[in-house]
Amino acid sequence: MAEENKVSLHGFFASPYVRRVELALKFKGIPYEYVEEDLKNKSSLLLKYNPVHKKVPVLVHNGKPIVESLVILEYIDETWKNGPQFLPEDPYKRAQIRFWASFVHQQVFQNMVLILKTDGEAQEKAVKEVSEKLSLLEEGIKSIFPEGIPIIDQENVGLLDIVIVSTFSSYKALKEVLGLELIDLEKTSPLLFSRLKALLELPVVEGALPPHEKVVGALKFMRQNALNSASV
């Protein structure tokens, strides 16, 4: 008896949180239906599936919704045992990866959003924060792989890799929108940068990222919106 395995994902093309879930599904080779949400006019399905936060991504598996990107990634890893295992077996390594994934998700990304949405002193402050966090992250990556980082391929990609590529893949688009490079990732975070580069070259990742111009357009819109509403 074939087991029903219906998977759908409610998302928004420019959201890095949605990107994470898409990458996870693609790395595991899980077929899914994608539903693009208009965030200014959220579908009734989305509001039904995520009444608490009313946000994307929402993964729906056989009618049951799972929300919060990091929670979804662990759910995918625990439910589908084929393909790469996103978390290793060893509890200590798992704890390290969860810690750093949460760090990128909360500490680094929130400040990157601030860099996009502010200017002047507020932006300078956000740039300083991101630089500090990136230094810590660089040390963190070293501590996770004390013997050196293994070569990445589609079979050994992990949870932190997915978070890294989804968070930093719009790096070039951000530079274009701001008109200058506020943080030189290659110089300040060589390990992170080389890992990111290797990830971006994987076919699954290349296929999952939206076109550069579309990302630039979305980021420009977000920046304009934020700066307009900030000015009194």
């Binding site: 929670v71 704890a95 760090f103």
Partner: protein, 232 residues
């Protein structure tokens, strides 16, 4: 087999108490190190250089930080008395609500209890409105938890689980904040299930033994944050 488990924490912190509750539930022996948060020890700073916060669990010399990460580490390392269910969907659910409590509830509760500033006479009306808004927000958040409990004895089902432990802020500290600030939030009329749960929760041995003395805690918060929003 020599095993060393250290917990760096603070007597009044729900976060470090969570770690102690989980260890007690599993019958794991540990050494507790009380930190003076105004004068953090070199050990703490060495074990948690990223956030410099408690709690930190140190297992055979290896540090784990962030209370929810620590709870998962404890569950994966010591398999007796599991605190997470086996089913991936239920695990995702527990993780979601634990994050909800940490990311949404605590700050909302604080704002409702101590947020508004009772300044000059003309500020009173504005502060009153802000206060009402904050209380309403807490009410909405607690309603989600009330609904999630359904007919279960504990969030974890028949026995206390990760979500119950994470909800220690709701089960005990919330009552302390209410008494310290004079603001009523977790009322029996509106939240009968949550109130029942809180009563059951604090009676569980492993939990009861790890609750800081109520009067001492109330005095501490009154001292630290003032008499609260209900006073005029």
């Amino acid at each position: 087999m020599a095993e060393e488990v250290l917990v760096f924490g603070a007597w009044g912190s729900p976060f470090s108490r969570r770690v102690e509750m989980a260890l007690k539930l599993k019958g794991i022996e540990y050494k507790f190190i009380e930190e003076d948060l105004t004068n953090k020890s070199p050990s703490l700073l060495k074990y948690n250089p990223v956030h410099k916060k408690i709690p930190v669990l140190v297992h055979n010399g290896k540090p784990v930080a962030e209370s929810l990460v620590i709870l998962e580490y404890i569950d994966e390392t010591w398999k007796d008395h599991p605190i997470l269910p086996k089913d991936p969907y239920e695990r995702a659910n527990a993780r979601f609500w634990a994050k909800f409590i940490d990311e949404k509830c605590l700050s909302a509760i604080f704002k409702a209890c101590w947020g508004a500033c009772w300044g000059e006479e003309k500020e009173h009306e504005k502060a009153e409105i802000e206060h009402e808004k904050a209380v309403k927000e807490v009410s909405e958040l607690l309603q989600f938890l009330e609904n999630e409990l359904k007919e279960k004895r504990y969030f974890g089902g028949e026995t206390v689980g990760l979500l119950d432990i994470a909800a220690n802020t709701i089960g005990y500290w919330l009552g302390v904040f209410e008494e310290a600030s004079g603001v009523e939030l977790l009322t029996r009329e509106k939240f009968p299930k949550l109130c029942n749960w809180a009563n059951e929760f604090v009676c569980v041995t492993a939990i009861k033994e790890n609750l800081p003395p109520r009067d001492k805690l109330i005095a501490y918060f009154r001292n630290r944050f003032g008499a609260g929003n209900a006073s005029k």
